[in-house]
């Protein structure tokens, strides 16, 4: 089917303002939006800039706003956002980070906040034998928190950041929670608790 991808284009380095540019192309309903972007950049307009890699939702490269909602372009099928021939799909960069070019944003601040919670194991328990012993239940406690792919979609969607740019954002809290929850089964990690406390004022 023919769809129109209406893409946000901007090159801040040349002082350009943002504008939308439309590209009409034939895509299968089951194609990914990412497939459309790749086609545009390889066959129609090489100057289109965006990040991508795994193409199946595991690397976190291609979060963007598709019809106003934060999504991964590689996990959004054409049929998820366009029903009829000629439908327009509007694609914009994430919010709360500066545009580097087109659909690429500067994730520096997002990663700095991630790093600020010290998202790594600070061993407090002796390794007993070869591996630490941890029950499946203890493991399950923080399972969800290991699923974050640092795509920063939540950082863009977060309404708190509209008013308080210092807020560390959901992903960094998830990263901290992963280790807080891991330690709950052993001993509370005082560093993470104090981090959580420090940021509390900046929360809602």
């Amino acid at each position: 089917m023919n769809v129109v991808l209406e893409l946000y284009r901007q090159d801040p380095a040349s002082g350009g303002e943002g504008e939308f540019k439309s590209y009409e192309l034939a895509l299968e309903p089951t194609d990914r939006i990412l497939d459309g972007l790749i086609r545009i950049s390889r066959d129609m307009d090489g100057s289109l800039s965006f990040r991508k890699s795994c193409a199946h939702g595991v690397c976190g490269s291609d979060a963007m706003r598709i019809n106003g909602k934060e999504r991964l372009a590689c996990k959004t099928l054409v049929q998820d956002v366009a029903e009829n021939e000629g439908d327009v799909v509007r694609i914009e960069p994430l919010r709360h980070m500066t545009v580097q070019r087109d659909l690429m944003v500067d994730q520096q601040v997002f990663f700095e906040k991630f790093r600020s919670v010290k998202p790594f194991l600070i061993p407090q328990d002796e390794v007993q034998e070869k591996e630490r012993i941890q029950s499946p239940e203890e493991r399950a406690l923080f399972d969800e928190a290991t699923k974050c792919i640092n795509c920063s979609a939540c950082y863009s969607a977060c309404p708190v950041l509209d008013d308080n740019p210092d807020f560390i954002g959901p992903a960094a809290i998830v990263a901290a929670a992963r280790y807080v929850l891991r330690y709950m089964s052993i001993r509370v990690n005082s560093y993470l608790v104090s981090t959580a406390y420090r940021y509390r004022q900046k929360l809602w």
């Binding site: 090159d11 690397c59 630490r132 699923k147």
Partner: protein, 575 residues
């Protein structure tokens, strides 16, 4: 700019990060990566990392080493396989101790599951050897190693792409690097450079590989005159999502999933009576293609893009949701299907490069006669060779951490005793001039060449390949390399010019396609992943040797290197 480091690690996947942690203990180390480290393709690995921990049942590193050698159809260097299997155990504990959240057995130990080709007691039956973190093992390895790098203040250059190697004779003195943000070309002087740039599945149309898997490391080295080893051996994983190639982990079959043809037959019974659906990947992929070519694919038209079904519905919703949750998610997203209810449509997908940059067991680039001083490789881009003609599942993650670590250690020592070598500082300007030329002249879009290359490689150098197909492929790729000379960058900007990089990546893939097709055409036997209907048997007499293929303009010259068979004598491979 000119940067100076003791060690430069190119690539921030599992291999690069592990090497950086080790090298960084003593050497001033930089990690250069074209992707943010956490975006590396190691993060896509699903099924697990193999190590004979014996947490679920008895297991031994010796059995693991034997399976690796047999799985690789005896083209494996056996001492390297022994090291792989032995060091795997300690490395997995080490990862766990650094915080890797493995799934657990009821006793709280690292959980293990079955995987193709991994057996107990030299082939008696499947063994639980794959240590896993649900179906996100690679992502957990990547996260854990990256977090350790943050902890240890490793110096990262993110979104810097290595484009050229600097050699002084056979000594490596640094690399030329393109910075995405500014478009500047830099020189990184180094006493030691390690390439860990990952795979190159993107030369094929149906692949499980990331868009960034364009084989930059091997291509850069090939253009510098270094031959590549065993490039004809490319693994086609049997179960990619139909049409897209997205991987459905072998873990699904490890948990009990089965393959069915259009008649509902469990066809693996006919091809591998003992290991069934858990036979090594090359055998299962061939079985699927044979079913398809005999009209028992789902569509039944005998075309190579037909498919078969992978059924996990009998495992029950609990197993599907706890053991393979990401797979269930992919099926819902891309196929609108729930694997707990219905079978999944699958076909072989280009997955893993067994061949690559030839190295010794310390990761040093070693072409059999020449050791390139200060030049190292590890991970998928390297060929140690522990995978031989066919890699077993879970053995790549082991390879990354075991040989990434060994290379890192060797570098840490090596740089203590040497000074920086001579570097041609004009190399950066020369490269910048090349990029400028790509931008200023008018020319063609890269799209058609990309698609043509991928179609040719999939159709003619795929699961089955024969003489005439491969000769056609070699000729066609040569022609595409000529056409490539007319491709130009439209985007004239300096900052964030992703198009420049995409075109340089296409050039890399074209070079590696040519080397792959030519190496495949040259090897007149069937072994592991290289299956030729015109030479259906393995021929140890003539072909028990590694290929070394050197790129020279549009031609490939071939040489050989011997295989280490010091432990087990080659035998026919039956499962």
């Amino acid at each position: 700019m000119i940067y100076e480091f003791d060690a430069v690690i190119v690539g921030a996947g599992g291999a690069g990060l592990y090497a950086a942690l080790e090298a960084g203990r003593t050497a001033k180390t930089a990690v250069i990566s074209k992707l943010y480290p956490m975006r590396s393709h190691t993060g896509a690995a699903q099924g697990g990392i193999g190590a004979a921990l014996g947490n679920v049942e008895e297991d031994k590193p010796e059995w693991h080493a034997f399976d690796t050698v047999k799985g690789g159809d005896y083209l494996v260097d056996q001492e390297a396989a022994r090291i792989l299997a032995e060091e795997a155990v300690q490395t997995v504990y080490d990862l766990e101790n650094r915080g890797l959240p493995f799934s657990r057995t009821p006793e709280g130990r690292i959980a293990q599951r079955r995987f193709g080709g991994h057996t107990r007691n030299f082939g008696e039956g499947p063994v639980h050897r794959s240590c896993y973190a649900a179906d996100r093992t690679g992502n957990m390895i990547l996260q854990t190693l990256y977090q350790q790098c943050i902890k240890n203040d490793v110096h990262f250059f993110d979104e810097f792409q290595v484009v050229e190697l600097l050699l002084d004779g056979t000594r490596c003195t640094g690399v030329v690097v393109f910075e995405l943000k500014t478009g500047e070309v830099h020189i990184f002087k180094a006493k030691a450079v390690l390439f860990a740039t990952g795979g190159f599945g993107r030369m094929f149309r149906i692949t499980s590989n990331a868009l960034a898997n364009t084989g930059d490391g091997p291509a850069v080295l090939a253009r510098a005159g270094i031959p590549l080893e065993d490039m004809e051996f490319f693994q086609f994983h049997p179960t990619g999502i139909k049409g897209m190639g997205i991987l459905i982990t072998e873990g699904v079959r490890g948990e009990g999933g089965i393959l069915l043809n259009s008649k509902g037959e469990r066809f693996m019974e006919r091809y591998a009576p003992t290991m069934l659906d858990l036979a090594p990947r090359d055998m299962v992929s061939r079985a699927i293609m044979t079913e398809i070519s005999e009209g028992r694919g789902v569509r039944g038209d005998r075309e190579i893009d037909d498919w078969v079904m992978l059924d996990a519905s009998h495992l029950g919703r609990d197993v599907v949701e706890s053991k393979i949750p990401d797979i269930a998610d992919f099926c819902k997203t891309y196929l609108a299907l729930d694997p707990a209810d219905e079978p999944m449509p699958v076909q072989p997908t280009a997955h893993y490069a067994m061949g690559g940059i030839p190295t010794d067991i310390h990761g040093r680039v070693d072409t059999g006669g020449t050791v390139y001083e200060g030049l190292y490789a590890a991970g998928e881009c390297a060929c140690v060779s522990v995978h031989g003609a066919n890699r077993l599942g879970t053995n790549s993650l082991v390879d990354l951490v075991v040989f990434g670590r060994r290379a890192g250690k060797h570098i840490a020592e090596y740089v203590q005793n040497v000074t920086h070598g001579a570097v041609d500082e004009g190399a950066a300007q020369a490269y910048a001039a090349r990029v400028a030329k790509l931008k200023t002249e008018k020319g063609k879009h890269p799209g058609p060449i990309y698609r043509e290359m991928q179609s040719i490689m999939t159709a003619k150098v795929g699961v089955y390949r024969n003489e005439s197909n491969m000769l056609e492929a070699v000729a066609a790729i040569r022609e595409l390399r000529e056409q490539f000379k007319d491709v130009r960058v439209q985007d004239t900007a300096d900052n964030f010019n992703t198009e420049v990089l995409a075109i340089l990546e296409l050039e890399n893939l074209l070079d590696l396609s040519l080397i792959t097709a030519a190496s495949a055409e040259n090897r007149q036997e069937s072994r592991g992943a290289h299956s030729r209907p015109d030479y259906p048997d393995r021929d140890d007499e003539v072909w028990l040797k590694h290929t070394l293929a050197r790129l020279d303009g549009n031609t490939i010259s071939i040489d050989y290197k011997s295989v280490d068979v010091s432990i087990w004598e080659p035998k026919p491979r039956v499962y």
